[in-house]
């Protein structure tokens, strides 16, 4: 079967705007978690977020796009621009039906939605924006990216909470395998507005710590929820032959394997769905656990969930059998942006032979994980990325060096 390569990356992350800046920060353990600045969160139990710094959309996007887009869509459009530029793709030179877009979303343009709900309920329906019908909905990023780059091929949008980003990339790979030569994929999310904040607090999983270095501690005995963030990554996926035909000079790596499962009821006789997602992804990649050089864990930072994830990893690879890292300790959980950002980190780990660190965490010894606390140099050819969505969604993806 044809191989699906990643030829371009665009990153908008709380610890760095743009691939180079973000990767430098990530390798050096620089966190982007800080007090919320997009609204006054001091009255709420949770007060920290990973916000993308120094982002002025007017610098990157035409002014006509600004009134019709939520903050997270602007981030997504810029990430897509950068990913295509990184891949050196001239979208006007490719067949229009040969290019598609598949993104994940978890909550759509929620801040835009809050503003229009407020307009409706405080002022009346005639004050609702003409853009509300599509600025809020989950399909907005795929639609806007396809328009911006004239991509008329098969496209899609999936919603699977935090697992969605990997599911989107997997669907993009399906489209490539069926003959679409290039698919822009990944996820960029963010609902850092009061209404989004209230909704996220309802999950009961937000950290209420006020100390950025203590707030998000997956696999730590002190784990007490996560810090939410905004941003993510957009990837350019290409069929290997098609990439060669257009003269693409290099690729970051290959999307080699994928598995998705749904958790059985906790009291059921079945094992965790996560373990099975890992097995499926490894089998799909045609590899055994020994061939995995590093695992990018989901890192819920909720005791019960950390236990399940640590157990699945330890069962697959043996106790402390593989390096495990959670770079999202520097960004917060980015919902559908989280998986794609970890894919980007995995691909750069392969490029630079370095494992980015998990910051602030003192690993709980009971988990039997080799958690990478400081950037570690190692030969990296194959990475496993895990992402879990609220409600029981598990996704696992294998990326490996393409040469």
């Amino acid at each position: 079967m044809t191989r699906t390569l990643v030829t371009g990356l665009g990153v908008v992350a709380p610890n760095g705007l743009g691939l180079a800046q973000w990767w430098a920060a990530t390798v050096h353990g620089v966190s982007g978690i800080a007090p919320v600045s997009r609204f006054d969160a001091t009255g709420y139990p949770a007060q920290l977020a990973g916000e993308v710094p120094d982002f002025d959309p007017a610098v990157y996007l035409p002014s006509r796009l600004l009134p019709q887009t939520d903050h997270m869509t602007r981030l997504a459009l810029v990430a897509a621009d950068w990913a295509l530029a990184d891949a050196k793709v001239d979208s006007t030179a490719l067949p229009e039906f040969g290019m598609g877009v598949v993104t994940a979303s978890s909550s759509g343009g929620f801040e835009f939605g809050q503003r229009e709900l407020q307009n409706l309920w405080s002022r009346g329906s005639q004050y609702v924006s003409a853009y509300q019908s599509f600025a809020w909905f989950y399909a907005v990023n795929t639609g806007q990216i396809s328009i911006r780059h004239g991509m008329r091929g098969p496209s899609g949008v999936v919603v699977t909470d935090q697992a969605g980003g990997l599911d989107a990339v997997a669907q993009a790979r399906r489209l490539v395998r069926k003959g679409t030569q290039l698919v822009v994929s990944g996820g960029v999310d963010g609902s850092i507005c009061p209404w989004g904040w209230a909704a996220q607090m309802a999950s009961g999983r937000l950290s209420t710590s006020e100390d950025p270095s203590q707030a998000f501690l997956p696999f730590d005995a002190r784990a007490a929820g996560h810090v939410p963030g905004e941003g993510g990554a957009i990837l350019v996926l290409e069929d290997a032959e098609a990439a060669r035909a257009r003269g693409a000079s290099s690729a970051y790596g290959e999307i080699a394997g994928y598995g998705a499962t749904f958790d059985p009821e906790p009291d059921a006789e079945w094992p965790s769905g996560l373990r099975r997602a890992i097995d499926l992804a490894l089998a799909d990649a045609g590899i055994v656990p020994d061939e995995v050089d590093v695992v990018f864990a989901d890192g819920a930072a909720v005791g019960a969930l950390d236990r399940i994830e640590a157990k699945a990893i330890a069962e697959t690879f043996g106790p402390r059998g593989v390096p495990v890292t959670v770079p999202k300790t520097m960004t917060g959980r980015l919902y559908s942006g989280g998986g794609p950002l970890d894919l980007a980190a995995a691909l750069l780990a392969i490029r630079d032979d370095i494992i980015p660190p998990t910051v602030h965490v003192t690993p709980d010894a009971r988990y039997e994980l080799d958690l990478v606390g400081a950037a570690r140099e190692a030969v990296i050819r194959t990475c496993l990325v895990l992402a879990r969505g609220h409600g029981g969604h598990n996704a696992a993806m294998v990326v490996r060096a393409s040469n």
Partner: protein, 422 residues
Amino acid sequence: MSRRVVITGIGVLAPGGVGVKSFWSLLSEGRTATRRISFFDPSPYRSQVAAEIDFDPELHGLRPQEVRRMDRATQLVMVAAREALSESGLAFSDVDPRRCGVTIGSAVGCTMGLEQEYRVVSDDGRKWLVDAGYVVPHLYSHFVPSSVAAEVARAVGVQGPVTVVSTGCTSGLDSVGYAVELIREGTTDIMIAGATDAPISPITVACFDSIKATTPRNDDPEHASRPFDATRNGFVLGEGSAVFVLEELSHARRRRARLLAEIGGFASRCNAYHMTGLRPDGREMAEAIRVALDEARVDRLEVDYINAHGSGTKQNDRHETAAFKRSLGEHAYRTPVSSIKSMVGHSLGAIGSIEIAASVLAMEHNVVPPTANLHNPDPECDLDYVPLTAREHRTDVVLTVGSGFGGFQSAMVLVRPERRAA
């Protein structure tokens, strides 16, 4: 030999009645279920018409705690999924749950629940810094609508991939198309696939008002949805759900399941033109149709019936008429085309699945449902739109299409199973 996918069970909750039977009697009798909005006082709005379902979730088997926690869109899909499973005769105790998945399409997810909770925490829009003290625990499930698919998955007990597909108004076709791929590639043998939307809420009505997409024909709600008619002036918002049990063909045969239709082909394209606008030439939809027919190995001359998107906006009706001519050539003029949105309204992401259900029923009964309220066709829409009354018509191959905000254009080809039993 490539794996083939058949529909072995259908559940429908559409305006006009609960269940497949009442759905088909509405369509085959050409009755309409559009009316003045009753869920809230619509008088401040430009469009005051919708196609609502009279539905008591507890009467249909949902427990009080489920009703409380689930958005209406979730309630609808739970009931439709139950009907589909029961019709399929599938005993889930005999099935490997790891080889089963769920995909549910939805354009706007849990909008009703979100708006209701927003009003509480914001004191009806007075507070930007909403009062999180009034937040209900299930608000997170409304916030991220993958909860809709997760509820179905938990109720059925599946352990394969579980996803919401949200591509606006083509979600209901795209979610089934997505499920078909999972079976074909061998990931699953069974998919519970369908769609749901329950958008009849002030914010949805207001946002379509603001772009004049919905009809202002408030004095005549029963006849307000008028696809292809010269007097049509916008769509009528609806709600509903349809769910299918999809099975790999040999799996279905082994258990001697009733085969309702084969999903022969599916394709989607984007117009990359405008978030709400359509290019008049219909070339992206035509391309999706061409590829879906190709995948189904069906010649365009074999298409017996086209279940149109037919939303009842001038732009859409002309766009897809052009797309049918572009893809089917002269055969477009000889093929009955109809829009069930004339009767059940436009339930956004759900309607694509509801229209698949209508297509399968048309095949089963050899009856093409009509386009209600079509008295004076738009001169630019010059195909056979089956006005007013259903028509007996041998229907072995159905093309059903969708078109939506974001530029999505999708096409699916359904084939009578015994037509090529090999």
